[in-house]
């Protein structure tokens, strides 16, 4: 067992994921700069730009959490290491997504109510007067490409690491084409003289951002308040944790099994049972694929209440 909280078999995958997230940050930075250069007054572009800028929150939180998990050793102040930093990062990313999504939706709705007509003027490029909208369209198309590839590469790593933060980022990247398409439609609509297209596209993008944020918020808060382990991509209970719960109940009939998740690890409490005489490593209780047994970090036993009462009566003078 290593000094840090990360299971040994995940170290190589984690390093691979960190490298990928650095690439993710690099490509996202190029998108932010490209989009920022052609923002103009378009609500769609501003919303898409804020969305892209927000896109750096999950990878940054992942990289910070991953470094702490890899390098942060257990100490007197942090006896469990830093396995929950990832959960905290997931929560921070979720709050940022939801709050900014709500703000963007408010702005888009206000623009629609005020019937604001977005001005997109022209610039001179290579001696030609070009409508800035064309550059916005080019920037939007560019912003679609890197996330598509990065999202595909993130997904298997997130599943291997059982990392919700990375998984949420992967899904957001993979679904980025939807917001990109809305953004393109907004700019083209604006060019066609439909003043409402810009704000409407911005509202659609905001709803997508809020949707991602709320899903992440539900999962992350569940972990922080010791809820049962959740599935990677949704707030539903995870299948492997449910299988573990059934397995423990079968092994210790008549007991209550409580599971919680600390980062990527599961901790189990079996209430109403004494510790077995033949001591077993927690991983022995993992019911499915053995290569995923690292998920189970702890199995604790809480004796029945009667046993405690007997103990108390024996100790009386």
């Amino acid at each position: 067992m290593s000094d840090n909280s990360l299971p040994d078999e995940l170290a190589a995958t984690m390093r691979k994921a960190i490298r990928l997230e650095y690439w993710n940050l690099f490509w996202t930075a190029t998108i932010i700069v490209t989009m920022g250069l052609v923002l103009g007054q378009s609500q769609t572009m501003k919303t898409a730009w804020v969305e892209d800028t927000l896109g750096v929150v999950p990878p940054i939180m992942f990289v910070i959490a991953a470094h702490m998990e890899l390098r942060g050793t257990r100490s007197a102040h942090f006896p469990f290491g830093f396995e929950r930093v990832n959960g905290l990062g997931f929560f921070v990313a979720a709050v940022a997504l939801t709050a900014v999504g709500a703000l963007l939706l408010y702005n888009a709705i206000m623009s629609l109510i005020a019937t604001e007509h977005a001005t997109v003027g022209s610039i001179v490029l290579f001696g030609q007067h070009i409508w800035l909208g064309w550059l916005m369209i080019a920037a939007q198309i560019y912003s679609l490409i890197p996330p598509l590839f990065i999202g595909r590469k993130e997904l298997p790593l997130a599943e291997e690491l059982n990392d919700k933060l990375l998984h949420t980022d992967a899904l957001m990247n993979k679904a980025n084409w939807l917001t990109g398409a809305a953004g393109l439609a907004g700019i083209i609509g604006l060019g066609l003289g439909w003043w409402w297209a810009d704000a409407l596209a911005a509202a659609i993008i905001s709803v997508a951002v809020i949707n991602d944020g709320v899903k992440a918020l539900r999962s992350s808060t569940a972990e922080l308040v010791d809820g049962a382990p959740r599935a990677l991509s949704q707030p539903a209970l995870s299948e492997d944790a449910q299988a573990l719960c059934e397995h423990l109940q079968a092994e210790f009939p008549g007991t209550t099994v409580r599971l919680r998740e600390t980062g990527r690890l599961i901790r189990a409490e079996v209430h109403g049972a004494h510790s077995p005489q033949d001591w077993q490593h927690p991983r022995r209780y993992w019911p499915s694929e053995k290569e995923r047994a690292w998920r189970l970090a702890q199995v604790s036993f809480v004796p029945p209440v009667e046993a405690v009462a007997e103990l108390l009566s024996d100790s009386k003078p």
Binding site: Q41, E116, H117, A118, T119, V120, G121, S122, V124, H129, W131, G133, W134, I188, L190, G191, L192, G193, W194, W195
Partner: protein
């Protein structure tokens, strides 16, 4: 396990893209010319009616570049200019509401009206942060593009912006 794409498949993709690339490029070029359009059809109206309403802010004598700018706009639109003058605030409100097509005058570089009307590049610079520039109705992007092009044609300051 997913197999890597064969060279034959890559060539087929490449051939497909190359086959339709000229058509795609032509479509985009045609699109370049037709976009943007004005939501309220300002430029079409000016060209159809051959009439362009221009406001001038009282209390300032227009530098020669303003005359050249208006001549350039009139030539592009084949329109006669109808001039109105008055105080800046009411004229800006008329631009915002589409009653004036173009308002020219001295405005602050960071005018508080920047969100309500679309200011073009500066035609000339006044004292301090003051710029002589034209304002058009927000969102009338084709009309705004025409005014911007005219400003860049006649003014060094506009080209440098």
């Amino acid at each position: 396990m997913r197999s890597a794409p064969k060279p034959g498949h890559l060539y087929a993709c490449y051939a497909l893209v190359m086959r339709y690339l000229p058509a795609l490029a032509l479509t985009l070029l045609a699109g370049c010319n037709s976009l943007p359009r004005d939501p309220d059809g300002t430029l079409d109206r000016i060209r159809q009616q051959h009439r362009l309403t221009v406001g001038w802010v009282d209390g300032a004598s227009p530098p020669p570049v303003v005359r050249r700018f208006l001549e350039e706009v009139a030539r592009d639109t084949h329109a006669a200019i109808i001039l109105r003058s008055g105080a800046a605030e009411p004229l800006l409100a008329q631009v915002r509401d589409g009653q004036i097509d173009l308002l020219i005058g001295p405005f602050e570089k960071d005018s508080p009206w920047a969100g309500d009307v679309a200011f073009g590049p500066p035609l000339a610079r006044g004292a301090g942060e003051i710029e002589i520039k034209a304002a058009a109705r927000n969102g009338e992007n084709r009309w705004i593009m025409l005014a911007e092009r005219a400003a860049r044609t006649v003014s060094q300051e506009a080209r440098a912006e």
